[in-house]
């Protein structure tokens, strides 16, 4: 309190420099404007407890001193860090580079606007990643995690659950049915189905699929979309599917194989842009032109898609919306401990370019929802655990969603 003379509650503002040292603490601000610690704290955390007049004075003092609560002190007391941990994606992700740094950017932005920071780390294997989780949890350096790149036999969700960590995953819990954690994912089946419909709309009837080896989750999902769309359109599927590991080389080889078959496809949906690039190679090897003798659609809309010549039609994931939903889900989980996990599936959007052979005018045909936000429009499906029993296979790719809400751009 440091009682000075003339303590009229009015405007006892002491000289700033005298009271405030290098970086102000709550105590300094308090004495600076003649109130107690707790009043400053309340002005920040529970403004409604202050008399309007006091609040005004305190906020002014905070403004003038540039005070911000110490991260360490606050974390220590509240046992919450307001920091989210997230593994940086391996640079090779997607094979064709850089699909997801836009996502990461959006993630950081969303976190920050929710009052959180993002702590980033690198790891190459699941075990290494778990070791980092362990470290960060033990040191109480983060409140929760955002998982990326979930895959088939993924030890991470189980480990985190067992250790009582809060987290949300980008990617469905492939293989495990009805996992108890929140996730956000892109409806790959929807994307490949859109690709099929696009090609069929251009007159193709023999539409092939270049996929990943079975059991890859993402690959199976995207395959399902192709298969069900083909079925829905009464198109033949036999002899039109090839699978291998991701990559340009394998895309080329598989396309070769399809084209040498008895009744080769005239359209081709690929599980990734890498595969699609391989397909383009194979077509060019024959002296053909992509979009003419074989129409090709990729997946991911990686940076190369628009740079290639011919440019590559590709299914774009609504990465910004995904990031926003992830942060929203995690923050919800952090604030309300035992709420129902949220499962959110966002629809991707087909970007039509040259490789699918659409006329310039029909490029507007895209998917019908494309009229929305210019940058990152997406349909949103929320899976309500109670209303909809857990699907038999990973996710109800072809079934209509329960709810449909328009996503925030």
């Amino acid at each position: 309190m440091v009682g000075t003379d003339g303590d009229r509650a009015g405007d006892v503002i002491r000289p700033l420099r005298a009271t405030v040292g290098k970086r102000p603490t709550i105590e300094m601000v308090a004495s600076y404007c003649g109130v107690s610690r707790q009043t400053i704290s309340n002005a920040i955390n529970a403004p409604d407890r202050l008399r309007p007049e006091t609040l005004r004075r305190v906020l002014k003092a905070i403004e003038e001193t540039g005070y911000r609560p110490s991260h360490a002190a606050r974390s220590l007391r509240k046992d919450a860090t307001n920091v989210i941990g997230c593994r940086l994606l391996p640079s090779s992700y997607g094979g064709t580079g850089g699909v997801l740094d836009g996502w990461f950017h959006a993630l950081c932005a969303a976190a920050r606007s929710g009052g959180y920071d993002v702590l980033t780390f690198a790891s190459s294997t699941d075990d290494e990643e778990i070791a980092v989780y362990d470290d960060l949890l033990r040191r109480r350096a983060v409140d929760g995690f955002v998982l990326t790149n979930t895959h088939h036999i993924d030890p991470r969700p189980a480990w985190l659950s067992e250790h009582g960590a809060k987290f949300v995953a980008f990617g469905r819990p492939w293989g495990t049915r009805n996992a108890p954690h929140s996730w956000v994912d892109v409806d790959g089946a929807n994307g490949t189905a859109a690709a099929v419909r696009h090609l069929a709309g251009l007159g193709h009837t023999r539409i092939g699929f270049l996929g990943l080896a079975k059991g890859s989750g993402v690959g199976d999902d995207r395959y399902q979309g192709w298969a069900s769309a083909m079925r829905a359109l009464d198109l033949p599927t036999k002899g039109l599917v090839e699978r291998a590991e991701d990559g340009i080389a394998s895309g080329r080889a598989l396309t070769e194989k399809l084209l040498e078959g008895p009744r080769p496809p005239t359209g081709l949906v690929c599980v990734s842009d890498s595969m699609a690039v391989g397909a383009i190679r194979a077509v060019e090897d024959r002296g053909w032109r992509p979009g003419r003798e074989l129409s090709i659609v990729g997946f991911d809309d990686s940076p190369i898609a628009s740079v290639l010549r011919p440019s590559l039609s590709s299914v774009r994931q609504p990465i910004v919306a995904v990031a926003g939903e992830l942060v929203a889900a995690l923050l919800a989980e952090l604030s309300d401990s035992n709420r129902r996990p949220s499962r959110i599936l966002l629809a991707p959007r087909l970007v039509v370019r040259e490789s699918s052979g659409a006329q310039h005018d029909s490029a507007r045909l895209v998917v019908r929802e494309s009229s929305g936000a210019q940058h990152d429009s997406a349909e949103l499906h929320r899976f309500d655990e109670v209303a909809a029993p857990a699907p038999a296979m990973p996710a109800p790719a072809t079934q209509p969603p329960r709810e449909k809400v328009s996503a925030n751009a």
Copy 2:
């Protein structure tokens, strides 16, 4: 101390569950192995103060309880967070995507192995970025920063210096001579010079340059390398330079312009891969083939370089080494407050592919240092501030470095 019976100093190990709650604190570990707080702390921070026997016992207890010091408590007490702040690069960086996520990955790895974590944030403008710096500093959430993407009139270094923040920059302080902070950069002039020598070695005498508008720092540096190498080889430079903003479209237009000139180049060094892609387009527009009628070299070795057809020769930056040096410099600065700033320049490496028209066999010709580490070899120049007076222009691109040390792969 909780004095129990039979307090022989020997092995008074109490049942783990009884003593240790959810996440163990230092106090729990202490009582668990029958010593005081401070002894545990010492075992971690100053092991030499303990009797070997005690140390062993304590370490065992730490191991068994899985104890790790609370990040918040430690930061609060030590007034140091062991966290580095770094802005996530804009996703559009480099125009052709994803050059730098490998760098970021390496940065995180290096930081972690030095006992630090990386806090990531997104920002679109310099002012926005400074606002985040301000926030993080006020909250004492980070110990220092790694700056990226330094550019011509860059308010960030000055702001950070004025506010007494520790930081290192990836990129020279363009425009400001002899800035007082540490930096690490890639010797772009060295890279374009290597590209010139490569093309000259293939027999080219008219080698053009596609650059950025003057004053862009990076662009000027790379231009200087081209110019000085041309001079050194006694090759003509007149009418061989075009400049504009970065991008595929402008690369295409500029190349067009050069090729329509009186004595068009047969080789072309580009300031970026985007420009180079544009150049390829322009060549193809004429029905020519890159690497035949016009040999093209890009800069950055972005993911598209190897995917393009013909594949693009390009200058690769030693991003992993850069990240390592940055972390090393920052940690040094953090531990020894008023040490001389370190300025480190790393040499890039030319990756020869089809677009430069080299024979398959001569692809081994690269740069002579290329025999080093397979992933990320780099020459390292350390500029000793005392010995070498600050260069007149940004950096002594063509002058021989003072010291030369082989970089850690």
